[in-house]
């Protein structure tokens, strides 16, 4: 994986495959405390105790077509590479929370990457899922939900190419603006 938004996309697809109807992605960047962390929370079917013990084993998967389960292992590895922390909590039939926290200025911390593209990829084929996105950057915050978008569309389908292309541009604009640093002390946001 080249950037963190690919991990976020990957973990979120696990949620979709777990049959979630609600998906929350939260990113928090705190430059003062040198932290970049993200949380993916779903209300999917959850992971039972037996599978939980093997969830970070790359040679374990519950999927029929695959022989390896690399997603979570790759994320944990990316976290450990930059002295971060990785947590996963799950309750069968209630949902799963994956949280990854990174030392923000660690030399091995991958850039956040194309988060707008990741969100739009998630929304494109999944009309039955409510997505909530919240991104905190120091004191500033940006929130987005498919619910408010749907309301604004007044019945017109969100899963229309022109709407999704608009959404991608909108999210990219807002997130870039959010992450713009006016205080040069902290350098550029990567």
């Amino acid at each position: 994986m080249e950037d963190l938004s690919q991990h976020i996309l990957d973990i979120s697809f696990n949620s979709l495959e777990a049959g979630c109807t609600r998906l929350e992605i939260c990113i928090r960047e705190d430059l003062e405390n040198n932290v970049l962390e993200f949380t993916v929370r779903d209300n999917g079917r959850g992971i039972d105790r037996e599978d939980m013990q093997r969830v970070t084993d790359p040679f374990y998967t519950t999927k029929k077509n695959a022989r390896v389960g690399l997603g979570i292992s790759l994320l944990r590895e990316a976290v450990e590479r930059c002295d971060g922390t990785f947590e996963i909590e799950s309750k069968p039939r209630e949902g799963t929370v994956v949280k990854a926290s990174f030392v923000r200025d660690h030399v091995d911390r991958a850039p956040l990457g194309d988060i707008a593209g990741a969100l739009v990829s998630l929304i494109a084929g999944n009309s039955g899922v409510e997505l909530f996105y919240s991104h905190r950057f120091n004191q500033k915050e940006f929130n987005f939900s498919t619910g408010e978008m749907r309301a604004a569309l007044k019945g017109y389908s969100m899963q229309t190419p022109a709407v999704l292309v608009w959404l991608e541009e909108y999210l990219r604009r807002e997130i870039t603006e959010l992450r713009r640093i006016k205080d040069e002390k902290f350098g550029r946001a990567g």
């Binding site: 999944n126 190419p161 999704l164 292309v165």
Partner: protein
Amino acid sequence: MKSLAELDKLRETLQREMKARDKEHDISIAVSMGTCGIAAGAREVVKVLLNELKEQGLAHVALTQTSCVGSCKHEPLLEIKRGNEKVIYVNVDQERAKEIVRRHLVQGEVIKEWTDS
């Protein structure tokens, strides 16, 4: 949200432009989005597909996703279904994705050399 006004305008335009496009309803594109697909660039492929579908005015082609289909070395991979016809394209980069929309979806030509068979 200031941009909602912008979105509303877009919706009105789209609704005005909406024509009878029934024949598009049975076309779907499924992009493989397992860990392997994502690492190989599936997200970029989705973005190009959306852009090209928009450009070509194919508003009703269903873009969906599948998980790893066990063919990781051929990622990014996508499957196009039109009625009973099913075509799998392998190693789809951004250029190919654009061409697939133009040639397969618009002109109805299967680009054999990019398929899995």
